[in-house]
């Protein structure tokens, strides 16, 4: 196999570093870029730069945002008595898509996993406890993924919250076990939120 010209080889290498992109897909993407107009390429490059420059994580709830604090944290119409804890920002969107939940959020940025060396200090757990000192929350909904890691995380956070005297619930009903909230359809997710139980 002859080598590609250096700029193409470099682009292929960059694509290959993206999740889910193998060598073949990386090649296809690189050749696609090569065929598109300069304007299209400029727009793509600008979008990449923009997302890095303008999107940050909310310093309060750790959700993805372009303003800090984020719109969920500052919206006065959201129910300040409810707080939903999720693993990742995309899980927040899954809950939000149900259209039923109007409370606040907290994104942990992961789940406990001794195998991957992820402990409580690697998650946004301490900042959750700090938030609760000033918030008047009446119920905390633990919406971590229904995996063993998500269960362990919910259980761990639940134990920390118990002494605070706040009602702690765990979503459960209807979620396909071992799956990711991202893939739960809206109906399932809606049921999961409605039939959450206290832990």
């Amino acid at each position: 196999m002859s080598e590609f010209a250096e700029p193409i080889a470099k682009l292929i290498d960059e694509f290959k570093r993206l999740p889910g992109i193998g060598h073949k897909s990386a090649q296809r993407l690189a050749f696609h870029i090569l065929r598109t107009t300069s304007e299209d390429v400029e727009r793509l490059a600008a979008a990449l730069r923009d997302v890095k420059e303008r999107i940050t994580f909310c310093s309060t709830c750790h959700n993805m945002t372009d303003v800090d604090p984020c719109r969920y944290c500052t919206n006065p119409n959201r129910d300040q008595k409810l707080l939903c804890v999720v693993e990742e920002a995309h899980n927040l969107l899954a809950v939000e898509r149900t259209g039923e939940y109007r409370g606040l959020y907290h994104v942990l940025h992961g789940a406990l996993s001794p195998m991957r060396g992820i402990g409580p200090d690697d998650l946004k757990i301490r900042s959750l406890l700090e938030r609760l000192r000033t918030l008047e929350v009446e119920e905390i909904i633990l919406a971590t993924n229904p995996t063993t890691e998500g269960e362990a995380t919910a259980n761990y956070v639940g134990r920390l919250l118990k002494p605070l005297g706040i009602k702690v619930t765990r979503i459960a009903m209807g979620l396909p076990v071992g799956s990711d909230l991202e893939y739960a359809d809206e109906v399932t997710m809606h049921k999961a939120m409605t039939y959450r139980h206290e832990i």
Binding site: L112, P114, M115, G119, P120, T148, E149, Y156, R159, G178
Partner: protein, 370 residues
């Protein structure tokens, strides 16, 4: 269920097709001609897994690009076409030419296998018998796969946590809370596994034909590693207590000591452990009795029999046992038997479909024409 036709291309050294009849099917041929590969193809079409390798890509003919297996399966009045296409690390599954997921593909051509390797169930490590029970539970309750996965994942995570304890016994921050959290799931999933396996073993005892091959009575007994430590009927409470009592021991050992991953199955002939006290003939009989009991349970559950695959039957069993076994199965279960002994196949002329396997090809009715 019955396999009527099996076609193979690009799979090991096989080519062409093998036709099956309800009842007994003999695959006769010299060693290395591909008899076992035909059985392997049947097993893969049923389970998407091989009993010879963990990597399906190894079954693609050496130097080839892809393998394709097609089965025509008759189930009651329905005919189904099952296909597997293997290419690189990919496997594509089809039912009646429609692409389906693994979950939908399973259950259309279930089979049980008896081979030389299966003797490890009787003679081998407890892990072999745990796998035997788990496979049995899975054949009746496919959802059990999730319980097993959750338990194994929890076990790995717990072991990883226990390994964070330093040589001098220093524990990372929040260690005790974290251990509690993983133990909660050890209890939950461990209890589910204990319940599923004990139920399965009880059912096996109910249906096994205990004296099929001789005078000894074959029975099985689930042997929990928590036996003698309290009330097994309330397993969740018992394992919770044991995890508490053995907590420091688990921390010192650096891995989990409590749970159904340490359990075993006792296989008994006249009440005695057949692995320790049985002759090799008695061990083979006991194993066959268990395999047949698995077929019966499957039948009781689904109202149809799975296929039974017997690999290299005469290397494993004497003629008397073979006759008893095949007589017992005949007319109920579709059986595929491989043998290198022509005389054995000849004995079943007229009663069985016979294929001679030469260089991977199945040539039909060679002996029946005599």
């Amino acid at each position: 269920m019955n396999l009527a036709l099996l076609e193979a291309s690009g799979f090991r050294n096989l080519s062409g097709s093998l036709s099956g009849q309800p009842g007994l099917n003999f695959l006769w041929g010299q060693n290395g001609q591909g008899k076992t590969s035909w059985l392997e193809a049947i097993a893969i079409l049923g389970s998407t897994k091989s009993f010879r390798t963990h990597h399906l890509s190894e079954t693609v003919t050496f130097g080839g690009q892809a393998a394709h297996l097609t089965a025509e399966v008759h189930r009651r009045s329905r005919v189904e076409k099952l296909e597997i296409h293997l290419e690189g690390s990919q496997k594509h599954l089809f039912i009646n030419s429609k692409r389906v997921s693994v979950g939908d593909f399973l259950g259309h051509l279930d089979s049980f296998l008896y081979s030389r390797e299966e003797m490890a169930i009787v003679r081998g490590e407890p892990g072999e018998r745990r796998r035997f029970m788990d496979r049995g539970v899975l054949s009746l309750k496919p959802g059990y796969v999730q319980i097993l996965a959750d338990y194994n994942r929890t076990l790995k995570q717990k072991n990883a946590l226990l390994k964070t304890v330093g040589e001098d016994g220093t524990r990372p921050p929040q260690f005790n809370d974290l251990l509690d959290v993983w133990n909660v799931q050890m209890v939950e999933h461990g209890t589910a596994i204990h319940r599923a396996r004990t139920e399965y073993v009880n059912q096996l005892n109910q249906v096994l034909d205990a004296r099929l091959f001789g005078n000894e009575t074959v029975t099985v007994r689930y042997q929990s590693s928590l036996e003698g430590r309290g009330d097994l009927a309330n397993y969740a409470k018992l394992i919770t207590e044991r995890l508490q009592v053995r907590r420091e021991a688990e921390i010192a050992a650096g891995h989990a000591l409590i749970g159904p991953h340490r359990d075993d199955l006792e296989i008994l002939a006249d009440g005695k452990d057949v692995a320790k006290f049985g002759s090799s003939g008695q061990q083979r009989s006991a194993l066959l009795v268990l395999e047949l009991a698995q077929l019966n349970l499957y039948h009781r559950h689904f109202d149809e029999y799975p296929l039974f695959l017997l690999d290299d039957i005469d290397a494993e069993l004497d003629r008397d046992r073979i006759r008893t076994l095949l007589d017992h199965l005949e007319g109920q279960v579709q059986v595929f038997v491989t043998t290198s002994k022509k005389t054995l196949a000849e004995e079943y002329t007229g009663r069985a479909a016979l294929s001679q396997i030469v260089s991977g090809q199945a040539l039909t009715a060679v002996l029946i024409e005599n």
